[in-house]
Symmetry: C2
Subunit: 444 residues, 2 copies
C-alpha cells in the first residue's frame, strides 16, 4: 500500500476569499498531509467565472477552468470543494457531484439550510460524502464535536454567538460607547458586512447556521415560520448600558432548546442579555462562541474565529482530511505506520529549548527583614541577572518587622531567574524562599 | 449489509467510577448508536478484581469477569475499554489487546505518558487502534480537535487548565478568600483529590496530559527532565490578591510552546498569572479549558468538564463510536442511509414548541410621555398578560417631557409578551415601539 499510494484528486469551485485560502494553505500543508494519510493529493483545478480577474493567490493558468460540471466530472477528481456560494448553481453542482458518488466539501450555510434535506438524501443514495464544518462558526470544529466527540449526548441547549458581524458591532458599541450607526460604518469599511447586509444585520445568516446545528443535534430541519429570527438593528447604546446595570451584556445569539420530557424544541436567533460572568459574555469582536449542553457531558463551550479566509480554510482542510480518510476506507486506521512516521518527522524538527532560551515575565514574592539596605541588596541581585522590574507592590506587616514585596518583571530567561532566586535565598534578610510565578498572556 | 449488521463486542476492564459511567450511558444510548452506525453492539463483559464489591451500577453476574486477559482474548470482543488505571497491568493488557489487532480505548494518561511510544508502535504494527480522548480534559474533545478538526494547523502555543483539582482549589481561594489548607480540606472531602495527592497538587497529572498534547501537536515525547513541572502548594491567598492588583488571576496551567523559526519547543506545568479578561481566566471550579493557537485558524478555546464519571464516559463513548466507524472500514461513510434514518427517528420525537410554550425572562425598554397615570396604564397591560416585573430602571430626559423605562421580567411566554407589546404600541403615551430582548442564562 505504501508503495502505490492512493491518488486523491481535488477540484475547487469558486476562487474568492475562501477558495484562495484553501489553495494557499493546502499548498503549504500538502506534503505533511500526504505523509500522514499515506496518499498522493493532486490539485486538479479551480473553477471560476472570470479566469482573467486578478487574484492575490496565483495558480498556473492550466489549472484555471470555467466549466464547473466538467471539473466535477473529471474522473481524476474525487473531492469537490464547493466554495462559490449561492443556492442555485451551487445546488446543481453539488447534486451532480454527489450523484457521481464524489465527496463534496462546502462552506455554504444558505445552501444547506435551504436544500440540506435533498443534498443529504443524495449523499446516502449515491454513496458519496458531504462535509460542511466551515458552514458554521468558521474555524471552530463545532460540527465535528456535535457529530463525533460529543456523540454520546442528547443536547438540551445550544447557545451560540455565530454571526461575527453582529458580535463585532455590539462589542464596538459596548467598549467604545459608539452608536450602532458609527459601529456599522466601521464594519462596512473593514469588509465585515455581507454584500446583502440583511443576512448579517437581520439575523438571517445566524438562522442558516442555527438550522444546521439544530438538524445535527435533533434531526429536524426547522422551517423559518417556526422560529424567532431578529437582528440587532433596534439595539441602542442605551440598551447596552442598561444591560450592564442589570449585570448583563447584549449578545446576538442563536438558541436551540429541546425539552426531552415535553417532546418540544425551539429555535431562535435574536439579541439577548446574558450574565457578565458567563463565558459567552467574554467572546468579543468577530469571534464566535458556542455552548453545547449535553445530558452526559454537561456544557462544553468552543470559542474561536468564526470567519475569515484562514479560519474557514482551516475547517475546509480538516474536512478534506476526513474525506480522504473515508475514501481510504478499510485501509484507514487511527495511528497507522504512516501516521506514526509523520509524527516522527514532525518531532525531529524540534528540540527542547534550554532554560536560557525560555523567556517569560515573572511575578516574584518575597519577605524581607525590615532593615535599611535590604531592598538594595535584592535589587542589585536582580540587576546582576539582567532582570528589569516592571511593577512593585510593597507592604509592611505591622509589628512584625518584616515586609512583603511583590513585583512583576519584563521578559527574562528562566535560567536568569533561577540564578537570581538562588542568590536571593542565600541573603539572610530574605525570610523564606521567594515564590516565583510566570505571567502569561495566552492568545485568545 | 443492513440485513446482517456487523456485530461489535465490547469488553470493559476496570469498573470504578469511569467504567460504571460508561456502562450506564452505553446502556442508555446503545439503540441509538446501533441505528446510526448500522451495527449491533454487544456488551460482552466487565472485568474486575473483586466481583462481590458492591457497586452503584448493577450488571448481570454472568457479565462480571475476573481475568482481563481472557476477556481481551474472547473472539467476540473487538473493542477493549481499559479503564482500570495504573501503568503495569494496564500496560500488559493494552499491549496484549493491540497485538491481537483489537481496538483499545483508554482514559489512562499516566500510561500513555510513560508508555505511549511502545503502545503506539504496537498499534501501527498489528493493525489495531488506540483511542484516548478521555485521557486529557475529560469530556472536552480536545484530542479530536487537535488531530482532526484543526489538522491543517501547526500549533505555536497550547495553554490549558487541565487539572480540575488545582483549578478548584485556586477558584475557591479566590472567590471565598480561603487559605490553601481550608480549600484543600474541602476538596478532599468532596473526593476531588486523587488518592496520591501529589499527582494533582504537584502538577504531575497535568504533566501527563501535557505530554500527550505535546506529542499530538509536535510528534515528540517530552521527557520529564526537559520540563518545568510545579504544583500549587506554595500559592497563598496573598498571591491571589496581589495577582488581582496586577490585573491577573492565578491559574495552574500547562503551557506548550513551539517556535517554528528557531526549531525549539518548551513544555511547562505551573501556576501562572493570566490577565483577568482572558477566556481562560473565566474557567473556574473543576472546569478545564484549553486554548490552541494554530498558524491557520488562530486561537480556538475549548471549555468544559474535565473530569467526573459522566464527562469521562462521554469521551469514552465518543471513542467507541470512532472505533466502530473505523471497524466498519470501507462501509463507513459520512451520512449513510442508517445515519439519515437515525436523524429522522430523532427528529420525529420533537415538535416545534408554540409561542405559548416558550418561556423566557425579558428586558423591555419603552419611552413614555411625562404624564400622570401613564405608568399605571403600562403596568396594567403587563399585569393583564400575567407578566411579573423583576426590576425597573426608570429615568427622565431633562426638558423633553419623556421618560425611558427599562425593566426585566420573571419568566413568561413569548405569546403573552407579544400580546402585551401589541397593546403597549396602541397606547398614545408610548412614544415609540417598545424594544423587547430576551434575558438568558446560558449553562457553562
Amino acid at each position: 500500500m505504501s508503495n502505490a499510494p492512493l491518488k486523491i484528486g481535488l477540484g475547487i469551485i469558486g476562487f474568492g476569499t475562501v477558495g484562495q485560502g484553501v489553495w494557499k494553505h493546502l499548498a503549504a500543508t500538502r506534503r505533511n498531509m500526504e505523509m500522514r494519510l499515506g496518499v498522493k493529493i493532486e490539485l486538479i483545478g479551480v473553477c471560476v467565472r472570470d479566469p482573467d480577474k486578478p487574484r492575490k493567490v496565483k495558480i498556473p493558468r492550466t489549472q484555471i477552468l470555467t466549466d464547473p460540471f466538467a471539473l466535477v466530472q473529471d474522473p481524476r477528481v474525487n473531492i469537490v470543494c464547493e466554495l462559490m456560494g449561492g443556492t442555485t448553481l451551487a445546488r446543481d453542482i453539488t447534486l451532480h457531484a454527489l450523484r457521481l458518488g464524489k465527496s463534496v466539501i462546502s462552506a455554504n450555510k444558505a445552501l444547506i439550510c435551504e436544500h440540506g434535506m435533498e443534498i443529504f438524501a443524495a449523499v446516502s443514495q449515491h454513496g458519496g460524502q458531504y462535509f460542511f464544518e466551515a458552514s458554521v462558526a468558521g474555524g471552530i470544529p463545532v460540527i465535528k464535536s456535535l457529530r463525533e466527540g460529543l456523540v454520546a449526548n442528547c443536547f438540551s441547549e445550544i447557545v451560540g454567538i455565530i454571526n461575527g458581524t453582529c458580535n463585532y458591532l455590539l462589542s464596538r458599541m459596548e467598549k467604545e460607547s459608539l452608536s450602532y450607526e458609527t459601529a456599522l460604518k466601521d464594519a462596512r469599511r473593514l469588509g465585515y458586512v455581507e454584500a446583502d447586509e440583511s443576512l448579517d444585520l437581520d439575523g438571517v445568516d445566524a438562522y442558516h447556521k442555527a438550522v444546521i446545528l439544530a438538524f445535527l443535534a435533533h434531526g429536524k430541519w426547522v422551517p423559518r415560520k417556526n422560529t424567532l429570527v431578529e437582528g440587532i438593528r433596534n439595539v441602542t447604546l442605551e440598551d447596552i448600558r442598561r444591560a450592564s446595570d442589570f449585570g448583563c451584556k447584549i449578545k446576538h445569539l442563536a438558541v436551540i432548546h429541546r425539552d426531552f420530557s415535553k417532546g418540544t424544541m425551539t429555535l431562535g436567533v435574536y439579541p439577548a442579555l446574558i450574565p457578565l460572568d458567563s463565558i459567552l459574555a467574554r467572546v468579543d469582536g468577530v469571534h464566535n462562541g458556542i455552548s453545547l449542553t449535553g445530558d452526559v457531558v454537561g456544557t462544553t463551550t468552543l470559542v474561536g474565529r468564526g470567519a475569515g479566509q484562514d479560519a474557514t480554510a482551516s475547517a475546509v482542510i480538516g474536512d478534506i482530511v476526513d474525506a480522504i480518510r473515508a475514501l481510504k476506507g478499510a485501509a484507514f486506521k487511527f495511528l497507522t505506520t504512516e501516521d506514526l512516521e509523520s509524527y516522527a518527522t514532525l518531532g525531529s524538527t524540534a528540540r527542547m529549548a534550554t532554560l536560557e532560551e525560555i523567556l517569560s515575565r515573572f511575578y516574584l514574592r518575597f519577605s524581607l527583614r525590615d532593615k535599611s539596605g535590604v531592598s538594595a541588596e535584592v535589587y542589585r541581585i536582580l540587576a546582576e541577572e539582567g532582570i528589569s522590574v516592571a511593577r512593585v507592590i510593597q507592604y509592611e506587616h505591622a509589628g512584625t518587622q518584616r515586609g512583603t514585596h511583590t513585583l512583576s518583571t519584563y521578559p527574562v530567561s528562566e535560567a536568569a531567574m533561577e540564578r537570581a532566586v538562588r542568590k536571593l535565598r542565600k541573603l539572610r534578610s530574605v525570610l523564606e524562599p521567594p515564590l516565583v510565578l510566570r505571567i502569561l498572556a495566552p492568545a485568545s
